[in-house]
């Protein structure tokens, strides 16, 4: 392994009922993904405020991923449908401002999809690593 290899910082918002459990299952099955991924538990993907996403980028995140139950399977019946619209709008806006679209993602991961969780994270980390550091939505004051 190379020294000083670029390591992205990934914030993953996971809904308690599906994706967080999916992440736990990935753990149970020892399915590895990079330690760059840090998970924040939220009750539902619809709890994720766009401000949290911008906050993460401000503070130095290189990628933000939101995971929720599959559409139709939301523990709260409709939360992820709102997430879907909100994030479609937000991501499109970030793209409009010239911010790399690969830095944001929504993925539906059920409690049974530990393998999908790990695969998703591996893929996301790979894509963000390829992009390199987040320069377009960073707050220089927060850089170390």
């Amino acid at each position: 392994m190379q020294v000083n290899e670029y390591k992205p910082l990934i914030v993953a918002f996971c809904c308690n009922w599906c994706s967080y459990a999916g992440a736990d299952l990935a753990g149970n099955n020892r399915l590895a993904y990079p330690a760059d991924v840090k998970i924040i538990r939220v009750p539902c993907s619809c709890r994720v405020n766009p401000m949290f996403i911008l906050r993460a980028f401000q503070r130095g995140a290189d990628g933000v991923i939101i995971c929720g139950c599959h559409p139709g399977d939301c523990h709260y019946t409709s939360g992820n449908y709102y997430t879907r619209r909100r994030m479609a709008a937000l991501f499109s806006m970030l793209d409009f401002l010239g911010i790399e679209r690969e830095r944001t993602r929504v993925e539906w991961v059920s409690a049974a999809e530990g393998a999908k969780f790990a695969a998703t994270m591996n893929d996301f980390v790979e894509k963000v690593t390829a992009l390199g550091e987040n320069k377009r939505l960073e707050d220089l004051r927060c850089k170390k």
């Binding site: 503070r59 130095g60 707050d139 004051r141 927060c142 170390k144």
Partner: protein, 342 residues
């Protein structure tokens, strides 16, 4: 007095920029002008003035004051002040030059604001006479002569030439630096230009704006005027007037936690904002009427009361041009001052 051909202006800029950062009004993509750091290719704008005033150079919109860093349970306080380099602000209009006097009285009297003082001492101001004032200009009201702008160096620009005259030692030094590019001249052409400017000044619609109703000691007379409610009724409470104003000097001090350290910084505040001077007990100005009144009473009564009758308005007209509801100090002066000028 020294002069040079406009063709050589760029060489002068290059010469200045060798030793000091040079800022001058340049055209922006939206058609307005703003102070920009000169680099090869930057052209001096023909616009009458910039949207933002040059007060930014001495009193920037945000300015870091210090930092705190926690190490375990200890807190380190870090002084982040660094030695400043000299810089030149070129093309400042007479009104804006005057605004520095007003700011100086706030920041340079004891206790001296070291941040401001440091920037001020490193700044060289090259002013520029106004040949085409706007209908919104009323600097004359405050005894400012756009034909004779103050500053370390005064400048006049004709169709073909630019003329310089030093007013201070700093200004002399400045002219010496560019002496190889300029030549000594008499002031005939400048005098002609001054005359032309004065003629235009006499045609300005706001030339007779009357300040006699204002000044120190007028608080009791004006404070409870019913006109405040009427004037402020549609005020949106935005900060446009205060942020484009060259003399507004209020700021807020805030902390920003970066996660690794805390940056204590100050940023412009606006008396038009509902949380302005909010204290533990709440806010002492309860409605927009009080906030609105504060702004104009400060400029026209409180400030002169404490500063030898000097008004803290320079008549630059920025608020007239930029207020979203077109409410401004001129309308206030006319209404509260009893329409004496009409």
């Amino acid at each position: 007095m020294r002069k040079c051909s406009l063709d050589k202006l760029n060489l002068i800029f290059a010469e200045i920029a060798k030793d000091a950062a040079l800022y001058l009004p340049a055209d922006q993509t939206d058609g307005s002008a703003a102070y920009k750091k000169w680099e090869e290719g930057t052209a001096l704008s023909d616009a009458l003035n910039t949207v933002r005033s040059p007060k930014d150079f001495f009193f920037p919109q945000t300015e870091d004051l210090m930092k705190f860093k926690t190490q375990g349970k200890n807190i380190d306080i870090i002084d982040i002040r660094t030695a400043l380099e000299d810089f030149v602000i070129f093309g400042v209009r007479a009104c804006d030059v005057k605004s520095f006097d007003i700011l100086d009285r706030v920041f340079l009297t004891e206790p001296v604001d070291s941040f401001y003082a440091s920037r001020r001492s490193h700044g060289i101001i090259v002013s520029m006479a106004c040949t085409r004032p706007s209908e919104t200009c009323f600097c004359k009201t405050f005894s400012i002569d756009p034909a004779n702008p103050a500053g370390d160096v005064s400048a006049w620009k004709s169709e073909t030439e630019i003329f310089f005259e030093a007013n201070t030692q700093k200004g002399e030094d400045f002219l010496n630096k560019i002496s190889s590019l300029t030549e000594e001249c008499d002031d005939t052409l400048v005098a002609t230009q001054k005359e032309a400017i004065n003629k235009i000044m006499d045609k300005l619609p706001l030339k007779n704006l009357d300040t006699s109703a204002f000044g120190g000691g007028k608080t009791n007379e004006l404070f409870d005027s019913p006109a405040w409610a009427e004037l402020s009724q549609s005020c949106l409470g935005c900060g446009t007037c205060t942020f484009v104003c060259p003399t507004c000097q209020c700021y807020d001090i805030k902390d920003f936690n970066t996660g690794n350290e805390v940056i204590r910084f100050r940023c412009w505040d606006s008396c038009m904002y509902s949380d302005f001077t909010k204290m533990a007990h709440g806010n002492n100005r309860l409605t927009q009427k009080e906030r609105f009144r504060q702004r104009f009473m400060h400029k026209l009564v409180y400030y002169p009361e404490n500063n030898d009758g000097l008004f803290s308005c320079v008549g630059c007209g920025r608020c007239l041009a930029k207020c979203p509801i077109s409410m401004n100090i001129v309308k206030v002066m006319k209404k509260i001052g009893g329409n004496k000028s009409e």
